[in-house]
């Protein structure tokens, strides 16, 4: 039996997120397990007149490469990688997996080496995206492995994913467009702020955001979506942050991450489990210990932590920050092979101050700052 929500997801991604136009070259990257969504994406792309091309990630192949490759092979970038990034107009990355722990036996330094070799591609991707030459969207296909990580049956997880995209609504595109208007207002207000201070349990962190752009995320680059983000001033971050949820990298979990920033840089990192991985990743290059992103999650259709960053960072009532590469369109100048998001829950007692004024408490913007963001029929 065909789940009509798959088709709906593909349509929203193609029409709303990417706004695909005739003749545009669309690269769809997905693991084989996401085949049903890929098929619907190709249909939607063809309807829009675009030129879809599919890049399938084959189960077990990445592990085979990472296990056998020499240091030199790990650091080799295929000569096609950069020209490909230059050629495409649109990119959809579908997240799904048959086993989210598949790479757990691989030395993280090897994963990092591959990541590093891809830095020129990542840089160019960010540049073209910032210049408006390349539009992209990251989405997810509900699969058993993700359901398992979320402690849910596949059925319940499918409901979670599609509700997070508001695909249970008759007209999800209209709902996302209405939401976009509200988010823009919030972004406009944040644009006038010089410093943001986040206070929560074991957390008192100040980020400088003066002159940086805030981007409202209403389902264009991520789907599902719901956040406002910026690139903090590289040298201004100071204080402590303790992340409520495990930080996940390549299927590995780092528990209870605590970071201390001084002058923009991580000067101390601690974790209850996986501290070694954390230390390694923060050291992969110069930009890896600097925040590239600071964001506030605003999708109140997502309320549970499911170990998928695409959803977790959107949880209405959280904030998140990423160490590593920043988005140039925010004004960020930080470059790195890393972009690692970590989430801090603000729903029980968390506060955000904008230049000293309280704007967000217990996970909600104060009415004086922004209207309610709860989506319809939740």
């Amino acid at each position: 039996m065909i789940d009509l929500r798959v088709e709906r997801l593909a349509q929203v991604v193609c029409r709303h997120s990417l706004a695909a136009k005739p003749g545009e070259l669309m690269l769809i990257e997905a693991p084989a397990v996401a085949e049903p969504l890929v098929i619907e994406l190709v249909k939607a792309a063809l309807e829009a007149g675009a030129l879809p091309r599919v890049r399938v990630a084959s189960e077990g192949a990445q592990l085979a490469f990472l296990s056998e490759a020499s240091e030199e092979q790990l650091r080799t970038l295929l000569p096609s990688a950069l020209p490909e990034m230059e050629a495409i107009d649109l990119r959809v990355a579908v997240h799904a997996s048959v086993n989210t722990r598949e790479l757990s036996g691989v030395d993280p330094a090897r994963v990092a080496a591959v990541q590093e070799s891809r830095k020129p591609v990542m840089d160019r991707y960010m540049q073209r995206s910032a210049a408006g030459e390349l539009r992209w969207c990251v989405t997810a296909f509900p699969c058993q492995a993700f359901a398992q990580d979320a402690d849910l049956s596949l059925d319940a997880y499918e409901d979670f994913v599609y509700r997070a995209g508001w695909l249970h609504l008759d007209d999800p595109v209209a709902a996302w467009q209405g939401f976009a208007g509200t988010l823009r207002q919030i972004a406009d207000r944040l644009a006038g702020v010089r410093e943001l201070r986040v206070v929560a349990e074991d957390t008192d962190l100040t980020v400088g955001v003066e002159g940086r752009r805030w981007i409202p995320c209403h389902g264009d680059r991520n789907f599902p979506d719901g956040e406002v983000y910026t690139g903090p001033i590289e040298t201004a971050t100071r204080g402590d942050v303790r992340f409520s949820y495990p930080a996940i990298f390549g299927g590995r979990e780092v528990q209870d991450v605590r970071l201390r920033f001084e002058g923009g840089r991580v000067v101390r990192s601690e974790a209850a489990g996986g501290a070694e991985l954390l230390g390694q990743m923060l050291a992969i290059d110069d930009g890896a210990s600097i925040l590239g992103e600071f964001a506030i999650g605003t999708n109140y259709g997502v309320q549970r932590f499911t170990k998928q960053i695409l959803f977790d960072e959107k949880i209405g009532g959280t904030c998140h920050m990423a160490v590593g590469a920043g988005y140039p369109e925010t004004g960020s100048t930080n470059t790195s092979g890393l972009h690692w998001d970590m989430v801090c829950d603000l729903r029980s007692g968390g506060e955000i101050y904008a230049d000293g004024e309280l704007i967000h408490r217990d996970g909600r913007f104060l009415p004086a700052f922004a209207p309610d963001l709860t989506p319809p029929e939740m």
């Binding site: 190709v42 007149g49 091309r53 077990g60 295929l78």
Partner: protein
């Protein structure tokens, strides 16, 4: 746990067929459902110092593009397509259908349009291959769908496929080297021939192979393998040939195909099954009515037809001709989007003459 023969096949493919060298970029294409083999090949390529360029695909998407794409969407060759064709040092094509009829809903004219648009890319690929600038191997894996077409259980078909490739031999590469020497003797004899005449039931076909190069297919470009082949003089084929086995091409079934040639060109055709598609294939383009290949199957492990040309054309004691694209490395000049191999069994009374001298009888070279 994957069949250990699959791992052994990957070793032979990477170490012998593709002969992966350090630094080479090895493109791996095939259906995503063949992920166990794709992973095994990735492992072996990487071990040998190569860089895997993974390009698995969804056959369902391919069929969808062809049936739903507009003319423009079908004919646009993108930069991604060019990079895929131009960047790799060597390419592995994996044939492993889950359903051999996956293209059957696609109208033949859509397939033709798609192929024509990619002609330039394909021609360049085959020219570079002929010049030895790049390498290629096509490997067929045992799947339920192929087993079904062959009228076998999967287990039986696996034995058949791995047997045909000698991958369970203690030293498969040694086997292929000795088979190569055996085939080289036939190549040497064929190279002295001008006029090749093939006589079998309802078949009497004459081809001119003068000035053309006979090639020894010994497990490097196809796997399993076992044939010698060339591309005949384009304008010189005369007579008629009847194909012995059923054949499936792009999801269409053909049976009892019979072709008549005059001055190289198919001038009359018949089929007991698939006749309606046969004409369409012959009219795909100008080159589709000319013979691009003539060959002799020399794999004696393969004795039965399995409705899969990758095996049928290798049956020891058969001959096959291909309509359409010729091999530049053989000296062939015919160009076409078609390359359709059709097999004629010589094992029961068939005869092959070279300039009037009997070279093979009942499928066996004298």
């Amino acid at each position: 746990m994957p069949d250990p023969r699959l791992e052994s096949l990957a070793e032979v493919i990477c170490g012998y067929s593709l002969d992966v060298q350090p630094g080479e970029i090895i493109r791996i294409t095939g259906p995503a459902s063949a992920h166990e083999f794709i992973a095994a090949v990735t492992r072996n390529v990487t071990r040998l110092g190569g860089m895997p360029m993974l390009r698995p695909s969804f056959p369902s998407v391919e069929a969808l593009m062809l049936s739903r794409g507009s003319d423009e969407q079908l004919t646009t060759v993108t930069e991604l397509d060019r990079l895929d064709a131009d960047v790799p040092s060597k390419t592995l094509t994996i044939w492993a259908d889950r359903n051999t009829r996956y293209m059957s809903e696609v109208p033949p004219d859509r397939q033709a349009l798609w192929s024509r648009a990619r002609r330039e890319l394909n021609d360049r690929f085959f020219e570079r291959l002929a010049r030895g600038e790049i390498g290629w191997c096509g490997v067929t894996l045992p799947t339920q769908a192929f087993a079904q077409d062959a009228g076998m259980s999967l287990a039986e078909f696996e034995d058949f496929v791995y047997g045909a490739g000698h991958v369970s031999d203690p030293d498969p590469v040694a086997y292929w080297r000795s088979q190569s020497q055996r085939q080289a003797r036939v190549v040497d004899r064929m190279s002295t021939v001008t006029e090749l005449r093939i006589v079998a039931e309802d078949t009497d076909l004459t081809l001119d192979v003068s000035g053309r190069t006979w090639l020894n297919a010994d497990g490097r470009e196809n796997f399993p393998d076992g044939e010698v082949f060339t591309s005949p003089q384009e304008q010189r084929t005369q007579g008629h040939i009847t194909f012995s086995f059923d054949a499936t091409y792009h999801g269409r079934e053909f049976g009892g195909v019979r072709l008549w040639f005059e001055d190289g060109r198919v001038v009359r055709h018949e089929a007991t099954r698939g006749a309606e598609f046969l004409a369409g294939m012959l009219d795909m383009d100008e080159g589709a009515r000319y013979v691009g290949e003539v060959a002799f199957g020399m794999n004696d492990e393969i004795q039965r037809a399995t409705n899969n040309v990758a095996f049928d054309e290798k049956i020891g004691g058969t001959t096959h001709i291909a309509l359409g694209a010729a091999f530049p490395e053989a000296g062939g000049t015919n160009r076409s989007s078609l390359h359709w191999d059709i097999v004629c069994d010589l094992r029961h009374g068939g005869e092959v003459y070279g300039d009037g001298e009997l070279l093979a009888r009942d499928g066996a070279f004298l």
